[in-house]
Subunit: 280 residues, 4 copies
């Protein structure tokens, strides 16, 4: 917090050290903390997943409850430390991860009083999102950022696609409500739209399915549409990925014949043999 000043208070010194451990991952201790945190979060999530199984809860109830409170304890300490050492306390508290971190521990204390808070327990699993921010290292980050770039570049096209799908769902959903009616399971337009999503995405639960001839015909057309239309986003992403990959090395090219470098390591032009030394 006071990087440039000559004298550093004892407390500030400790605070800064804790900050480096918790928020940074350059130091060995920071890295160790990150790995420990990942393991804790994963183990905590696994615990919650197994806790939900009745037979497990019956057999290992006490152990699971104890471990649960143990994790709450650890997460609470972690949260308090983060609030304590954060550069800009408020901006951490109201940041996305600040809220997630708080929501992961808060409901546990309320659950004792109101059992309806079961719904909030889920936020502890949302801590898994931290993995994404921690795992921002290694080679995977490059790959996922490449994917992200391709998705971003095709955002507008995908929006058009999703808008079209949504439109088809509303129209076909309304049509089927009128055609089949409540007597065949299409009790309302929202329900019909749910059916349309189930059908157009080719999931096909079969909990609602058309009974009349006209309904079956319309469904058939919807299925063929859903089945064919998937080709569109695939084509978009595929095309965009090809572009993204190309653009990654595309900046580098031969000054003499404009040959586009195949990779950033290329040093000589394969067309004319001249050296390539233009910066991207």
């Amino acid at each position: 917090m006071c990087k440039g000043c000559g004298t550093l208070g004892y407390q500030d010194n400790i605070k800064e050290k804790i900050y480096d451990v918790i928020f940074e991952s350059e130091t060995p201790v920071g890295k160790a903390f990150d790995i420990l945190l990942i393991l804790t979060i994963i183990f905590n999530s696994a615990l919650m997943i197994f806790e939900s199984v009745e037979s497990v809860r019956e057999s290992y109830g006490f152990l699971i409850t104890s471990l649960g409170w143990f994790f709450i304890f650890i997460f609470t300490i972690e949260y308090l430390l983060r609030v304590y050492v954060a550069h800009g306390r408020m901006s951490y508290i109201f940041s996305f991860f600040g809220i997630i971190d708080l929501l992961a521990i808060l409901p546990a204390f309320f659950v004792t009083f109101l059992p309806q808070a079961r719904l909030l327990v889920i936020f502890r699993i949302f801590r898994l999102l931290r993995l994404f921010s921690i795992l921002k290292m290694g080679r995977y980050i490059e790959e996922s950022s490449q994917l992200m770039r391709a998705l971003k570049a095709s955002r507008a096209k995908i929006t058009v696609f999703l808008f079209t799908i949504l439109f088809i769902i509303v129209i076909v959903g309304s049509m089927m409500y009128v055609i089949e009616g409540p007597e065949n399971g299409f009790v309302s337009i929202p329900e019909s739209m749910y059916w349309a999503i189930v059908t157009v995405s080719t999931v096909g639960y079969g909990d609602i399915s058309p009974q009349t001839s006209v309904g079956k015909f319309v469904s058939g057309v919807l299925m063929i549409i859903g089945y064919s239309i998937i080709a569109v986003p695939t084509g978009i992403i595929s095309n965009e990925l090809a572009h993204t990959t190309k653009n990654l090395v595309g900046g580098k090219q031969c000054r003499h014949c404009n040959w586009q470098a195949g990779s950033l390591d290329d040093k000589f032009c394969p067309k004319c043999g001249k050296e390539i030394n233009i910066e991207t």
Copy 2:
């Protein structure tokens, strides 16, 4: 209606002003009208969707009916105004949107007399199609036209694909009717064809499913076909999009024959041999 003439009747003047507001979107008032219309249509559709839910109808019945008639009232005025100011009255009335606009309001008046008109109420939701014509602005239009061009370019290939699918459905549907028969749910060839669509599109409701060994074997083959054949339209679109995007390159084109440059480096037109030096 009389842009060039010196004197403009008072009535014509108002008519022209209303026309600019309703049919055009260049003026601020025209833009405001468009946005208002979009909101009205969306709100009306949402109303109809919720109206179909029984519990909502029971709780807010009066409110919903009132709002429904309110929208009918607005849409009727809008329709009458459109007819009144339209350049070429008949061509508007019999245009696609003219019919949609009329169908959106007409059934409401009939529904009082014959309850069977429920089917026609759906046309009010079809007004959503207006969104497409209004939203023809911003950057999305470019993206969707790019998608449209790719789809159009691959029209013939997709027709061949759909024809093949249809053929498979007829043949396999007939086969399964013979193999399984009415006793296993394949009560007729149209029903079997419905099952074939459900299967080949990988929707798989499970309302009809093969019971005999031979039927299961044929189904298995059909599934593998359906599962693999989806690769074909995807490949087509993907390939076509790559082409379409390439053709867009910078809007650079030959001044003499409108040839679209394949890449920004192209210096000469391959059609007429003239030099290309038009900036984007």
Copy 3:
């Protein structure tokens, strides 16, 4: 049959004329015959499809039976004529379409004696295959041959893919038979393999579904595999189509700078402005 000889018997003359009408489609009469045949086949198929619907059969039973025999009569005459005028009678009779044509009419006569021949009635619908041979005209043929070429070029890759899928089905099917057992619907390995196909192709009828925890876990893995593996054939076809399209125009290139022509109409090289006049 006697193209070169000076005198042509009266009978041979007629035979040759009928041949031109039935087997060729250059003459106007030949074209008319083809269109008539297409209509007859489509109408006959539609008739059979509707005949299978019980309610239709009950209402229009006599009409349908009469029309059915009418088509049998026409097809029989057509078949006899084809046999009579065919160049190389035996090679027609034992050709693919010769057999289809015979099977389309033969069962109808037997069905009177043994009702079990119902299975063979299906062959009348197989006559639809004739459409493919007749429709070999117009622009669609080019498109479908392009698709065919792409599929042929990727034949080996697709074989590897299908072999892998088959392998997964056998292994997972056997595993699930052991894990779930007959008590959970996996009554035999073939049945389990049918389930595996239903699952890996993402059809998912739900007529058989895993009940045990281990079974559900294995199914989950299989689903993710099935869901991801579809990317492989899509990638193959997509890639091959890109190649095929490119190769179509690829033969043509600039003699001076090796620029590859973008389309067969290109007459000038866009890189150096020289004329392109190399034959493919």
Copy 4:
């Protein structure tokens, strides 16, 4: 085993000959052995598949049991011979195929004593994996290695994709457990995760399906995600295959640094600037 030495023991001589037959496929006898082994494995697997069908077991019980023991006998001899002649006995026994070969025969002897060994019988079907090692010949190997290379090259991207899918499954699975609860079939988080896999992969058995409005809405979103996200791996593979195929171009590579030519026109190596003039 003693290739270089002048005198070769009689026993060693035989051993070496058996080795060539069993482990190698250069000699005609070796090839014949491979084909025989393939046929034996396929026939054995087919036998096991049919044995699992109750009606077949009842009709041909004795024949199937006899044939089963016959194959066990053959596989046992083959295994013992392999152990006997293998170069490096232990490395064969503990190799992947060594273990598969042993597991294929061992359970058969135990099954007499403990019927619970039924689970292990499956390993006999795992012998099918041998086909992969034997079939490593012909043109298919090149194609599958091309596919393999594309999959390997996109490994990191696919890992990111699968990780994202897994993440979605955990989050949505937990959410649905809270939203729907045990009363609607979502009895535990693992069960909910199974449902999430069934849904996101668009399989959709329908054994578990959402009942509440909120649950249906979340499912709808999950379906659209699952339906669209498939575009990502497809795009990846498609793009990678295009790359891989391109890199294969003619096997032309730099003599000095093994750089693979990007196109047949490349004349200079972009890594070291040396001229490339090696023929394929």
